[in-house]
């Protein structure tokens, strides 16, 4: 790409970016706006861009007068657990797919793809039966297991592509330098896979954090309810309390944001540049 381009072109580029950002961020703005608008103004002010009055009352109610914190904690446990377990397994499997030739490799890859083909709705009933038979309904563990199972194929392919991007020469050089295969993995491959691990963790975390369908089916008790299910309680309990629902939504964004801020430095590409020729 040339560094110098006509001002008209770059103006157009910024305009396009601005439009896209506006489109992507507007719902978030609306979420925040309604969360901050006092209840009685939500309907009367309708689609005004800025509320005439703002209040933190909705947030206060959500945090102190609903089981929101418990939903939040449950979701955190489930999402972190799923992200950690999935990434661990996916990293191992992705490494094997990337580096080794073994019998049945094609079959396993094929099966993993097949699992991604069915609409989730089709398998909800069998999953429910299995979890019920194991006596694990209403437990966070069951959610972690189910989410892990569903996320492993994609996460594995993701990790495999990251391992594929690390030249094999590097590991071999490490082994020539005196490493065992495991040491080469730990000292050379692992540090270079951090962006991949970060991306996979982030992807799985967000997927688990916002999952509703299985959580709805497998969890009934208020104690183990995760956040997306808990959000629905605002509908029945308070006859759709928009303000509180939106306030809860805003709070739910926080962990995702923190998580991505935390891992974003690992997402920066180009860690492997300079490894090979030039």
């Amino acid at each position: 790409m040339t560094t110098r381009s006509s001002p008209l072109l770059s103006a157009a580029r910024y305009l396009a970016l601005a439009l896209y950002l506006g489109f992507a961020l507007f719902p978030l703005y609306w979420l925040l706006k309604i969360a901050l608008t006092p209840d009685q103004l939500i309907y009367t002010e309708g689609t005004r861009m800025l509320p005439t009055l703002t209040t933190l009352e909705n947030f206060r109610t959500v945090v102190f007068q609903t089981p929101f914190l418990s939903y939040f904690r449950n979701s955190l446990v489930v999402s972190l657990g799923t992200a950690a377990v999935t990434t661990l397994i996916a990293a191992g499997a992705g490494y094997a797919f990337s580096r080794f030739r073994f019998r049945g490799k094609k079959l396993i890859i094929g099966l993993m793809l097949v699992t991604q083909m069915f609409p989730l709705l089709m398998i909800i009933a069998p999953i429910y039966k299995m979890v019920a038979a194991l006596g694990m309904l209403n437990s966070l563990t069951s959610l972690i297991i189910v989410y892990t199972a569903f996320n492993i194929p994609f996460a594995t392919f993701l990790m495999q592509s990251f391992f594929d991007g690390i030249p094999r020469d590097l590991e071999e050089a490490a082994m020539m330098d005196g490493c065992t295969r495991f040491q080469a993995l730990r000292k050379v491959v692992f540090p270079l896979t951090l962006p991949g691990l970060g991306a996979t963790l982030g992807f799985v975390f967000t997927a688990a954090w916002s999952e509703l369908l299985f959580a709805l089916m497998l969890i009934n008790s208020n104690e183990t309810m995760t956040f997306p299910v808990g959000l629905l309680t605002f509908v029945s309990k308070f006859s759709v309390d928009w303000g509180q629902m939106m306030a809860a939504g805003v709070l739910a964004l926080i962990p995702s944001c923190i998580f991505f801020i935390f891992i974003q430095r690992y997402l920066v590409q180009g860690l492997t540049s300079g490894a090979v020729k030039g």
């Binding site: 030249p167 082994m175 330098d177 540090p191 270079l192 300079g274 020729k277």
Partner: protein, 358 residues
């Protein structure tokens, strides 16, 4: 210090046989260069010696000890990769000292050895840089530094200079020659470059079609190639090979010319004559063995290349030392230096000379 022996070493990937029956003895301190066309298995052989590739059959011994199942880390061999394979997340100093770090050498000894190697390679001022902040040539030096710091019993090089520009290549080639002189360690070196092969090697191993075609000193291969493949592969520009019929005391060429080859005992089953461009003299039209028209003449200063079309025989290249006045379109006579001519049988093997021309 290492003596290496390869005994009937084979390599196959599934049903594809890449190398078969490789027999080779490498002396302690010898500089061996592996050459051959692309895909002939040079890298594969090197990687089997390194321990990075399992050996499908036969035995590989270092100092009399069977190495087939010994892990790379326990073979005490260093390797310089074509891609350099520097660790991108470590600075130059740590890259070079990594093998000592793994073996648990004390930090001050490591620092001393790194500084020493860096000085030899002119990397002193770059020790704190990451590989991505280095030029291609500097990366190459770091890769070399990483190998020499360990004082291994053998070095392996897989086309280490092929990513460098011409000037840097010459410089690094001399560097490697000096390194071998200084350390006297066994080295095995894969290259595509004739000049590297001829200048660096104690012995050259020519591989083709999964077999060793010939092993010998550079001069040996140049003067006494075992077969047509080696004859054409070694030497630049390439040897001219033309059809010929064996006759008493020499050969007859397709244009009817008779070349007397007194140094060959019997050329009876010859089907081809090989002659290097530098072993043909240009004489006046009618005065040589062959009549030709110059198609293109290149004046290189030190030499003159003449691409000639020989009557009744086809194209031939001639290289004459110094400058000659020939121009494209000129009629020339070509005189073949019979004692430097090679003759090949139908299966491609060279007919041996009866007596060695000293």
């Amino acid at each position: 210090m290492a003596r290496m022996e390869l005994r009937n070493v084979r390599k196959s990937y599934g049903s594809v046989e890449v190398l078969r029956d490789i027999d080779l003895d490498i002396d302690d301190g010898e500089f061996i260069v592996l050459v051959g066309p692309s895909g002939c298995g040079k890298s594969t052989l090197l990687r089997m010696i390194a321990g990075l590739e399992p050996i499908s059959g036969g035995d590989f011994l270092i100092d009399g000890e069977r190495m087939n199942d010994v892990r790379p880390r326990d073979r005490d061999i260093a390797m310089v990769f074509q891609s350099y394979a520097l660790y991108p997340h470590m600075d130059v100093a740590r890259n070079m000292g990594f093998s000592m770090e793994i073996r648990g050498a004390p930090a001050e000894e490591r620092a001393r050895r790194v500084a020493e190697a860096a000085r030899t390679l002119g990397l002193d001022t770059l020790l704190q840089r990451l590989p991505k902040e280095l030029s291609g040539g500097q990366r190459q030096r770091v890769a070399m530094g990483r190998a020499i710091i360990r004082d291994p019993r053998a070095f392996l090089f897989d086309e280490p200079l092929s990513n460098l520009d011409a000037a840097l290549r010459v410089e690094m080639r001399l560097e490697i020659a000096r390194l071998h002189q200084r350390l006297g360690t066994t080295m095995i070196y894969v290259t595509h470059d004739q000049v590297e092969a001829l200048t660096l090697a104690d012995r050259i191993v020519v591989l083709d079609g999964g077999d060793i075609q010939q092993v010998g000193s550079p001069l040996d291969l140049y003067e006494r190639p075992a077969n047509r493949f080696v004859a054409r592969f070694i030497g630049s520009p390439t040897m001219n090979v033309v059809p010929a019929t064996g006759a008493a005391g020499g050969v007859r060429l397709a244009d009817g010319a008779r070349i007397a080859l007194p140094h060959l005992g019997d050329a009876g089953n010859a089907v081809e004559l090989g002659i290097r461009p530098e072993h043909i003299d240009v004489v006046g039209a009618g005065a040589g063995d062959l009549e030709a028209t110059a198609e293109l003449v290149e004046h290189l200063g030190s030499d003159t290349n003449v691409y000639a079309q020989v009557d009744g025989l086809g194209p031939m290249m001639v290289r004459v030392h110094g400058n000659i006045a020939a121009r494209a379109g000129d009629r020339l006579g070509l005189k073949i230096q019979a004692r430097n001519a090679h003759v090949f049988a139908a299966d491609g093997t060279a007919l041996r000379r009866a007596e060695r021309s000293a």
